[in-house]
Amino acid sequence: MIGLLAGGPVIPDFGAGSKCETENQAFCWSWVSAHWGDTLQPALLQHLKLTGIAVAIGFAIAFGAALLAYRYRRLDQPIGLFADFLYTIPSLALFQLLVPITGITVTTVEIALVAYTLLILYRNILEGLRGVPAEVREAAKGMGLTGPQTLLRVELPLATPAIVAGLRIATVSTISIATVAAFILPEGLGRPIYIGITQDVFKTEIIAAGALTIVLALAADALLIALQRLVTPWRRA
C-alpha cells in the first residue's frame, strides 16, 4: 500500500508481517530466520563479549585479592565484606548509578558485572588455596621449593577444582545479570527480551532470546567443566 499525498512523503510498503507475527502466535520460525542476522546473532555476540570481559577482569582482580588474603589473613574479612556488600546491590540500581560516571557505555556495564563476579571468585579461590592440606605444603617446602614455586606447582593446581567451580558459577550468573544490563545499554540478549516485553509481549522474540541465553549459560558451564578435566586429569569430576 503506497500512500501518495500532494507534496507529502512517499510511504513505501514495509512488508506485512506474517500472520504468525501479527497475531503474536506462540512461536514464529519465520521471524527467527528473518531476524537472526539483524537481531539475534548480534545480541548473542554482544552478550558473549560482555560476559567474557567481565569474567576475565573479575578473575584477575579476585585472584590478586585472594592471593593477598591468603598471605595476610587479616585482609580476608574486609575484602570479603566489601565483595559481600557489592553483591547485595541490585543490578538495576548499580547500572543506573554508574551511568552519570562512565556514561551509557559498555564500560559502565562491565564495571557492574565485574563487581558481581568478585564475591564468588574471591571466596572460591581463597577456599581452594586454603583447602590445600598443610602436610602437602610442608612436603613442598621440604623438597626445597620456594614460596612462588609452591604456589605455582602445588597449591594452585590443587585449588583448581574450587577455582573452576567458582568460575562456573561466576560465568553463569554474569550471563544472567548481563540480560538486565539492557535496561541501560541496548546490547546483549537482554535487549530483544526487553523489546519483546514492551512490544505487546511478543512471544517469539522473548522465547528466542531467552532460549539462546539459557543455551549460552549451559554451554559455558559445560565448557568450563571440560576445561577443568583438561587441567586436572588426575581428578574425576
Binding site: 500512500g3 499525498l5 507529502g8 512523503p9 512517499v10 510511504i11 513505501p12 514495509f14 512488508g15 506485512a16 508481517g17 507475527e21 501479527t22 521471524w31 531476524h35 539483524d38 537481531t39 577482569i57 584477575a60 582482580i61 585472584f63 590478586g64 585479592a65 592471593l67 593477598l68 598471605r71 552519570p100 562512565t102 556514561g103 551509557i104 557505555t105 559498555v106 564500560t107 562491565e110 564495571i111 565485574v114 620456594t146 614460596g147 612462588p148 604456589l151 539492557a182 541501560i184 545499554l185 541496548p186 535487549r191 516485553i197 514492551t198 512490544q199 505487546d200 509481549v201 511478543f202 522474540e205
Partner: protein, 303 residues
C-alpha cells in the same frame, strides 16, 4: 627471602589486575580534541527508535559520523543526557519541552507558539531546535468507540458523565500537568483513578474494560485499526507535541548549513500518516526500526 618474592609476586598480580580495568576505562572515555562527534540519543519506545534511525541514517548518508545512544529513557533522563554531554542530538516533543521542562505559563495555544517557547528555553541553555515535524505525537484520552457511543463522549470535558472514571497512563503521567494533573485540575475530573502502565499494553487494558480510557499516543498503530477514538482535548492539556531535534549549539556551529538542511529535509517528510505506517511496521509487522527507517529514507530520496 621467600616471603619477599611471594609479596612481590602478589603485589604485581594485584597491580596488574587493577591496571587492566583502569586502562580499558581510560581508553573508552578518551576525549577527542577534533570536531565533536554527533551523538544521537533516543527515548525508549518504538517511535523514538524509528526517529533515531531516520536522523542517524540520513546524516550518515551525507557523510557525517554519528554516534548512537538508543533507549535512554524518559524525557527527564534524555534531558540529563543532553546537559551532561552524553548526547548532543535528541528528537524531543515540543510540548514536553515547553510545558514540562520549561514550565511555560500560560500554556501556548498553538503548535507554532509551543515550538517558539521550546526553542527559547533550549537556546538559553546552549542548545537550539531545528525545524519541527508535521506530525504530532500527543498523549490522548483514548476510549473504545463503543464506550464513546455509550456515554456520548466527544471531548474530554464530556468525561464528567462517566461514573468510576479511570485512566491508564505512563509512570511519569501522575506528576505532569500535561497528563493526570491536567485532567484533575484543568478539567476538574477530581475523582479520576490513575492506573500506571507497566508491561501490559494500554490497548489491552482498554479492551478488557479494566480502565475507562488510556493514553494511546496519536501516532500509535492502534489508531489504524479503527477500534479506538481519541477524545478531543478541548482544554489543550496534552499540548502540542510535534517533534523537533534538540541540538547542541556547538554541533550546529561545527557542521553548519549542510548539517541543518539534512536534518530539516528528514523532518519535513514526517507526517502523521508516515509515522503511523512506520510505527505499525515495527510494532505490528515486527520489522526492525533500522530497516523501516532505511526503506522510508530510500523511498523519499534521502538515502
Amino acid at each position: 627471602m621467600v616471603r619477599k618474592h611471594a609479596r612481590r609476586a602478589v603485589k604485581a598480580a594485584f597491580a596488574l589486575a587493577l591496571a587492566i580495568p583502569i586502562v580499558l576505562g581510560g581508553t573508552a572515555n578518551a576525549k577527542t580534541t577534533a570536531s565533536p562527534t554527533i551523538v544521537v540519543g533516543t527515548k525508549n519506545f518504538t517511535e523514538a527508535f524509528v526517529l533515531g534511525q531516520l536522523y542517524k541514517q540520513a546524516l550518515e548518508a551525507k557523510g557525517f559520523k554519528v554516534g548512537y545512544k538508543e533507549n535512554i529513557g524518559s524525557s527527564e533522563l534524555l534531558d540529563t543526557a543532553l546537559t551532561s554531554g552524553k548526547v548532543n542530538f535528541a528528537p524531543e516533543y515540543t510540548g514536553i519541552l515547553a510545558l514540562n521542562l520549561a514550565r511555560v505559563k500560560p500554556a501556548p495555544k498553538s503548535a507554532a507558539a509551543t515550538f517558539a517557547a521550546a526553542k527559547r528555553f533550549e537556546e538559553r541553555r546552549g542548545f537550539t531546535l531545528l525545524k519541527q515535524t508535521p506530525f504530532f505525537d500527543a498523549d490522548s484520552f483514548a476510549v473504545l468507540k463503543t464506550t464513546a457511543a455509550k456515554y456520548g463522549l466527544k471531548k474530554i470535558s464530556d468525561l464528567k458523565k462517566v461514573p468510576k472514571l479511570s485512566y491508564a497512563g505512563y509512570p511519569e503521567c501522575d506528576k505532569r500537568i500535561t497528563c493526570l494533573l491536567g485532567l484533575k485540575q484543568v478539567y476538574g475530573l477530581k475523582n479520576i483513578k490513575f492506573v500506571q502502565l507497566g508491561t501490559i499494553p494500554v490497548t489491552k487494558l482498554i479492551d478488557q474494560g479494566k480502565v475507562t480510557g488510556g493514553d494511546i499516543f496519536t501516532t500509535e498503530p492502534a489508531f489504524a485499526t479503527g477500534k479506538y477514538v481519541a477524545l478531543a482535548d478541548d482544554k489543550h492539556i496534552f499540548g502540542f507535541q510535534n517533534v523537533a531535534p534538540v541540538v547542541s549549539k556547538k554541533i550546529v556551529a561545527a557542521y553548519g548549513a549542510k548539517f541543518v538542511s539534512a536534518v530539516n529535509a528528514v523532518s519535513a517528510k514526517l507526517t502523521n500518516a508516515a509515522m503511523i505506517a512506520m510505527n505499525k511496521a515495527v510494532a505490528v509487522d515486527k520489522k526492525t526500526p533500522a530497516a523501516v527507517a532505511k526503506a522510508f529514507l530510500q523511498a523519499n530520496g534521502l538515502l
